[in-house]
Symmetry: none
Subunit: 150 residues, 2 copies
Amino acid sequence: MLFQGEFNNAIDAKGRASIPAKFRDVLSSVFADERLIVTQNDGGLAAYPVQEWEKVLEKVNAMDASPLKDAINLALISPAIECPFDKQGRIQLTKAQRCYAGLESEIREIVVVGSINKIMIWNRAMHAEMRKQAENLLKTESQALYNLGF
Amino acid sequence: MLFQGEFNNAIDAKGRASIPAKFRDVLSSVFADERLIVTQNDGGLAAYPVQEWEKVLEKVNAMDASPLKDAINLALISPAIECPFDKQGRIQLTKAQRCYAGLESEIREIVVVGSINKIMIWNRAMHAEMRKQAENLLKTESQALYNLGF
DNA sequence: TATAGTTGCCCACAAAGTGTAAAAACGTGT
DNA sequence: ACACGTTTTTACACTTTGTGGGCAACTATA
């Protein structure tokens, strides 16, 4: 369990997103490397420690050519870019990244979510909507949840 | 990892496309050569550092004559021309190039995408459409993505 | 040779990105 | 509940980058 928990942070007017101190601690203590590779995934941004990202790259490179591989390259690999931290623990997101994640201009509210080996960054309103939909699905599956121990 | 990331830039009324500063840095620091060879590929424009382009040429030349080789020459090699930078970091695209890539007249919005050893330039709307289709495919392959570490 | 279109070069302005400092908010332990 | 240290946000100054426009040189066409 590396990255865990949700944090309601903000991006400033220049598009810098503050990453929770807990996640930065994980980066320096577990990975000894404060760099993040940020890509676009499923309407949000996904930030991987370099080490984890390289594992992903190797696996993708090992794939035979296929439409799936092309789609992965187009949608997930090409947009990926290293975003270094500044002294305040923030990363600068590019325009294209903010545009993709619905974080243009006036929108400052984000949620930063730990997801095992990566960190997800969402438009907070969008994330709330996704959660609502997930909860609706769960309501129809109470037996399955019970069996899982929830 | 040479060229990486997506950048929402513009072409001006004269057909000049600004290339992101990050890519220009890679050109001068890694290749020590600011020239780009621009060709047409898959509905967009592909720009190669001269050095990389020459590698491609050698490999194609080494092929035995075949319909495939002819097609490569016709569609990929012949249209290629060198596009030098102006002092503002832009390259001048020809009419034929803009026409091929769907960048006629009024269309100003492009996306410049790093793709390892080359730089792709797309009509932004077209690129968004391609991404959408890629993401649709990815949605049907969530198990495969998980296995790859995404 | 006149004309229109294209190309390259230059400048200038606006937008975006970077760095630093300080204030506000938060959490912890006493 | 209070004080303290940490974390996050705000604010401002400064630099870089991207974009638009002017102008002159060149090209092609008629």
